[in-house]
């Protein structure tokens, strides 16, 4: 039982880290630009496709990843230049419509370019295999790499946001963007930077999971909704909130699916328990979100304080 718990907890953390990578950029886009971007999930998908394509091209996953990252950054900057920069000042409904349209375009675009069939990326040899945990328990090495890479990114982001001049501007922008602009900062360049960087982080998340998930059109849609839940729980504009909420959502979702039925079995008969557990488990994170919102309508770590 404990072994299962440990494995599932690790899976939950790994899932949470992934959510964090996607959510970190998006929460800044929401917070600083007061903009709703539905198309962030497809950037994750594009990252995965870039990784798959460049890995196939170079024959090496690490090399493919190294090319996929700047490619995702460039892709984000191009999107910002072509579409997003014209949306910042529009109302939320226009942003919803345009980014919804963008989802349709990119989902269909990858289908045209790479076909509707899922692509698979082999785990590179040096990252395959498993490492021992306790006793006979082993855990896939690649998942450990994902956790480590995600944590390293989180630390890097923390340093960037809290200890650099750009980070200071980001935090100030999340609190009051017009004021930052009034103080003479080129806020449009800051927006562009945030957007490109956010796209790269989402692309990085997509590239990292390419070897363990199937790369297919629409893979970003599910993750987008979960990212929204993370951002709502963590508080719009807060990278710290996104981290805490992402790990929380990852753990609750993964552990709920495994242990929900087990816990229920002690309360009711087994077949009803597994039925109820299966039905309730996918809803757990939404119930968590509703509960957080009920007590703290602007999330756990609101960037704008009480005003938002």
């Amino acid at each position: 039982m404990f072994n299962l718990f440990l494995l599932q907890a690790l899976n939950g953390v790994q899932f949470g880290i992934l959510l964090f990578l996607v959510a970190a950029g998006l929460t800044l886009i929401f917070g600083i630009m007061d903009m709703i971007n539905l198309a962030h999930g497809v950037l994750y998908m594009v990252g995965a496709y870039f990784a798959a394509a460049f890995t196939a091209l170079t024959g090496d996953f690490l090399l493919g990843l190294a090319i996929a990252l700047p490619a995702a950054l460039l892709f984000g900057l191009v999107l910002e230049f072509l579409i997003f920069r014209h949306l910042y000042e529009r109302d939320h409904l226009d942003q919803v419509l345009a980014t919804f349209g963008l989802i349709l375009i990119l989902n269909e675009g990858v289908k045209i370019l790479w076909g509707a069939a899922p692509m698979s990326v082999p785990i590179p040899d040096i990252l395959s295999g498993s490492i021992p945990l306790i006793g006979p328990l082993r855990y896939p090495f690649y998942r450990v790499v994902i956790i480590a890479a995600g944590l390293a990114t989180a630390v890097g982001l923390w340093l960037l946001v809290n200890h650099t001049r750009v980070g200071m501007l980001l935090r100030a922008g999340a609190v009051n963007a017009p004021m930052v602009s009034a103080l003479g900062v080129d806020i449009r360049r800051l927006f562009m930077l945030v957007f490109g960087f956010g796209a790269m982080l989402a692309g990085f998340a997509g590239a990292m999971v390419a070897p363990i998930l199937s790369v297919e059109p629409g893979m970003g849609d599910g993750i987008l909704i979960l990212t929204f839940v993370v951002i709502v729980i963590g508080g719009v504009g807060s990278v710290r909130g996104a981290f805490v909420a992402a790990i929380l959502v990852g753990l609750v979702d993964t552990l709920g699916r495994t242990f929900g039925p087990i816990v229920l079995r002690s309360l009711m008969d087994p077949s009803a328990a597994s039925q109820t557990g299966q039905t309730l488990a996918p809803m757990l994170i939404y119930i968590l979100m509703a509960a957080v919102l009920f007590f703290r309508p602007s999330g756990l770590f609101p960037a704008k304080g009480a005003a938002a």
Binding site: F30, D34, M35, I36, L38, I83, H86, L87, Y88, E89, R90, D91, H92, L93, D94, V96, L97, A98, F100, G101, L102, I103, L104, I105, L106, N107, E108, G109, K111, I112, A177, P178, S181, A182, D186, I187, R188, D221, I225, F228, V229, I231, V232, V236, Q275, Q278, T279, A281, P282, M283, Y286, M289, A290, L293, F294, P297, S298
Partner: protein
């Protein structure tokens, strides 16, 4: 604070201090008699469709039109929330699905009467709207959009995991609903006129709601929630009521949808569906009611038309959406309006 007010002076552009004026300009015909006249003409034209279909020998036209009208009902209900309440709800398809599943689940348990099914559908969707609306309306702006989207997904995943009722694959209905024991809905023609009747009733009912005292307060809240509060109204109660009414009506549309397709599936409540409903409302013009009907007709016909060209028709739809938003300042409806205004000269 509304979303519009907080967006001030980016990169030297002038502040948008009067967002409500800008927002109202995009409503083609706000409350005028023109809207009612247009709707009456539209409904009359629809009522003449079956004989025409018979004449030109295309019975499938009636089926297509029924489907379009069902989505028009759902779009109408969303217009109350989106157009009059200024709440960008991104989970409206959930109510459509709840209505459809009310039919399927009751039918599987031996209740086939459409009156009971509709009652259950209304209660289920109204309850879901009440609970999720009460939580969502504690927030505003981007939060509200994300939360309604998340609740919609919650309902979606609930149906996906209901393996007793088809789960992910959905389930085919054994038969259409009955009315007082009679299988009258088995005829596509009866279903067509029933749907048309519901659509007309929904339009008249919503119009009555909008012109009532309640509707005026709701519209006032859209324009300036702070001022409404200052003169003694609680926007929350009015917005929540509108949200519940809209949810219940969309549930009714779901009952019709299940009967029309004789099939229910979680796909009815996917978030793409919710997005399409928003597109329908905006395409036709928000806050006009008749616009929602027109938008549903236009969107579904456009979808059919694009699908004829290529299997990648969604690409075209996406490009169209992005271009409409980018190149028609003041939204899609505003752009179309300008297009029409420019045309005669």
């Amino acid at each position: 604070m509304s979303a519009g007010e907080s967006k001030i002076a980016l990169g030297g552009k002038t502040a948008r201090t009067t967002p409500d004026l800008a927002r109202d300009r995009r409503r083609g015909i706000v409350d005028g008699r023109g809207a009612a006249l247009a709707a009456v003409l539209l409904l009359l034209a629809l009522s003449l469709l079956p004989p025409i279909a018979l004449l030109i020998g295309d019975p499938f036209l009636v089926v297509t039109a029924t489907r379009i009208m069902i989505f028009a009902i759902a779009a109408l209900s969303l217009d109350l929330v989106l157009g009059y309440g200024a709440m960008v709800s991104f989970g409206h398809a959930a109510f459509l699905g709840l209505g459809a599943y009310s039919v399927a689940i009751l039918l599987a348990n031996g209740t086939s009467d459409i009156l009971i099914q509709t009652l259950v559908a209304i209660l289920a969707s109204a309850l879901f709207a009440l609970v999720t609306g009460a939580i969502s309306l504690r927030t505003k702006g981007v939060y509200f959009i994300m939360i309604t989207l998340a609740f919609g997904q919650m309902a979606y995943f609930f149906m996906v995991s209901l393996s007793a009722y088809g789960g992910d694959d959905g389930m085919t209905l054994a038969a259409r609903s009955t009315l007082l024991g009679l299988p009258v809905l088995n005829s596509d023609l009866t279903l067509f006129y029933l749907t048309l009747g519901v659509l007309a009733l929904a339009f008249v009912g919503l119009r009555a709601v909008i012109f009532s005292r309640f509707g005026r307060v709701l519209r006032g809240t859209r324009q300036n929630p702070v001022r409404m509060q200052a003169i003694g109204f609680q926007p929350f109660a009015y917005q929540l009521t509108a949200y519940v009414i809209a949810g219940a009506l969309a549930g009714v549309a779901g009952v019709l949808l299940a009967n029309q397709a004789e099939f229910v599936s979680p796909a009815y409540m996917s978030w793409q569906r919710s997005g399409e409903l928003i597109v329908m409302v905006v395409l036709g013009g928000m806050g006009t009611l008749v616009g929602a009907i027109g938008g549903a007709i236009a969107f579904l016909l456009l979808e059919d038309w694009l699908a004829k060209f290529s299997e990648h028709w969604k690409l075209g739809l996406g490009v169209l959406l992005v271009c409409l938003v980018l190149f028609t300042r003041g939204g899609i409806a505003g752009g179309i309006e300008r297009l029409f205004r420019r045309a005669p000269s």
